[in-house]
Symmetry: C2
Subunit: 417 residues, 2 copies
């Protein structure tokens, strides 16, 4: 993504820059929020415990969690919290606190209790999330000490927080927007992490969203649900759903600008949130473990068929290695669709890569050497688009995916992540 | 697999050596069969067109094909053939003849016609299969010339045939057994190829099976179906179902030993065929693109849950890179099962790796350094076994899978395969 023409946050051609939003410092926070982080020794080094606090007692919130049947203890604990009125979130990295039974759950509850006591809020007003290795004990004392340390240095900036939530990410993913709503100006910010064990259903990341708009919990829930579906839900690195995916969205109301449901304000805030989360999802994919390129597969056709076909293409190691190698290997796209749609054949697929029609009615064009050369040049960029048409009408979907590289194998074969 | 204690064909501990079978030269053919191959220029070099012929007009046959919704032209043509009385099979490598529309289908029909004319049999008594790159024209004249060249040098040996069907395979996969049935002795042989785009449903390989037992077509169909389900159907390299998977089984009857349905002869022949195809499937997995190790995941529990859980584990790039790195990363096994069984949680899984219980009721054991050291040593071998228990009873399945290595990425990113 570093070769994109502009250096702003909205780098992808697949995200529409919201015309009513201005980028602030990427680590700025909306009014009413404070954050901090500590190096608690959960990771071998660096910041690993992050704390986000909303000072207003009337803060509204919403959340989304992984749909995995194996849940991290923080997800289990958070699902029991007061998800519509969270006041704080604790995110730790380096250890996901998964598979540790009662002991792991007690650690998650201890984190809620420690943060709640320190901030003067109920334990169930604290959301918790963790990311990192699975199946090892998360050191409870270090986590609690980290929460206390972070709590002592809260400031109106998310720089440390956005660093502390990372694992194998190459860098932080964060932005803060000033959004002009019809009723006034609000701030909207988010901080996310990737980078492996990532396939959405809903998401496979941890993401914190903050706004100082005055949004009631029901509206925030709706906005969060819709925009997560169009962002993290459409992203995959390795097709592997995490046990720990969590999105928390908090609205402090500190701007004094009220956003009513089904109002033009809600629409304008929703458009900005949509762009923000889509770009963040693309950042996560672009920073997928070992990733060098991002693909976008768009599938059109029968509404029941487009989703499995898009997922199959996006998660195929053959498609992903071809993306890595800048090989416009349309045969592997056809193969993946054929596998996903077994029982719906014979398929007479149409396929375009970077706008060039390569397959029509299931039959590949014979490219002349000039056309092949042009196609090969087109797939060397940072973002490659595949458009596939399957039988039927009425459905369209997209999935963003990363390539599969040597670095992915190195990261996951040589290190326990 | 080269470090296995014995140098015989039945190298895997997961295949029971049939006590009533003796290994012959691996390239030997049962009575009544002849084979040959030619270098026709479909591949850049080497043998690429193979021909198998059964001389007896009463030959019985059976076949299995990929379930993909995108089919290679040879599969489409073969499905229209007289599959219960095939007399010959043509297999070409280097180009799968997929996605070439009417022209590709005409090429497959030309191969049937050329072989039929040369051998004096009907075109629909010729099965055809092809493997290799997808979406490029298969040169018809070269294929037909190769068939004619091979037809002129048929001999009672499968050495050239078993070489000519390979693509990215490191070497041929073949065996010939002498099998003592209650009614007499017969020969049973097979030749298979892998090595990528491999996930079974049924199979993702090309395999030819020959026997000189006198088996009627219905019995051969039954034996082929059952044994393919227990072998190639249980194997995966990269989870990618091919457009071209084909198994042809031919019975010449040349031994004069009749195998009746539901007889002790059928049982004995079936046991030998089962062991033969299971070992061949394991050979294909072990020779999966870039593969260094083979895993076997056994899942027990609810009959509806065991299959998706086993597939998810076997096809997870995180599990496969951990297998490659000799990392006993049980967290990734739990994650994969959790993803596959979304909606069936919370799961209280049990997990054993190489016979050691690591997770019980969803909670991981705390291993002491000695136990961890022993476990890490245990996962450095050529075959690693994972046993997973999911909720419920009545189901058990297994999937054989290869690791994911740098060599897989190199093969698939740097070459069009």
């Amino acid at each position: 993504m570093s070769t994109a023409p502009t250096a702003t946050f909205f780098r992808s051609r697949w995200v529409e820059r919201p015309s009513h939003a201005v980028e602030l410092s990427p680590t700025a926070l909306p009014g009413g929020f404070r954050a901090a982080a500590a190096a608690a020794g959960i990771k071998p080094e660096g910041l690993d415990v992050a704390l986000l606090v909303s000072d207003a007692p009337t803060t509204a919130s919403a959340a989304r969690f992984t749909t995995s049947a194996v849940l991290g203890a923080p997800v289990i604990a958070s699902k029991e919290a007061a998800l519509d009125r969270l006041r704080a979130v604790v995110v730790s990295s380096g250890n996901a606190n998964v598979g540790d039974g009662r002991r792991g759950l007690d650690t998650a509850l201890s984190a809620q209790a420690a943060a709640g006591k320190m901030l003067g809020v109920a334990p169930d007003a604290v959301g918790v999330a963790a990311t990192g290795v699975i199946g090892r004990e998360l050191p409870r004392e270090r986590l609690v000490a980290g929460i206390r340390e972070a709590g002592a240095r809260l400031e109106e900036d998310a720089a440390d927080l956005s660093e502390a939530i990372l694992t194998t990410d190459r860098g932080p993913k964060r932005a803060c927007l000033e959004v002009a709503l019809p009723s006034g100006t609000v701030r909207l910010a988010a901080q996310a992490k990737g980078a492996g064990m990532m396939s959405p259903a809903f998401a496979t990341v941890i993401c914190l969203v903050e706004t100082d708009a005055a949004v009631d919990a029901a509206t925030l829930e709706l906005l969060t649900g819709v925009t997560v579906k169009r962002s993290f839900d459409r992203a995959t690195v390795d097709g592997q759903l995490s046990t720990s995916d969590t999105v928390f969205a908090l609205a402090s109301g500190a701007s004094g600008v009220a956003v009513e449901q089904e109002s033009p304000d809600e629409l304008a805030l929703g458009e900005a949130l949509d762009a923000l989360l889509r770009q963040l999802a693309l950042e996560v994919v672009a920073d997928g473990e070992g990733a060098h390129r991002v693909g976008r597969v768009v599938v059109r056709g029968d509404a029941e068929l487009v989703e499995p076909a898009a997922r199959a293409v996006a998660n195929s190691p053959l498609v992903k290695t071809a993306l890595h190698g800048a090989d416009p290997n349309f045969g592997r796209i056809l193969q993946a669709a054929g596998q996903a749609l077994a029982g719906h054949g014979p398929l007479h697929l149409d396929l375009r890569i970077e706008g060039r029609q390569l397959v029509s009615g299931g039959t590949a064009y014979d490219l002349d050497p000039d056309e092949l050369h042009e196609l090969e040049a087109a797939v060397r960029g940072p973002e490659i688009e595949y458009e596939l048409t399957v039988p039927g009408d009425g459905g369209e979907t997209e999935v963003f995916f990363s390539d599969l590289s040597h670095d992915y194998v190195t990261l996951n074969a040589e290190y326990t992540t």
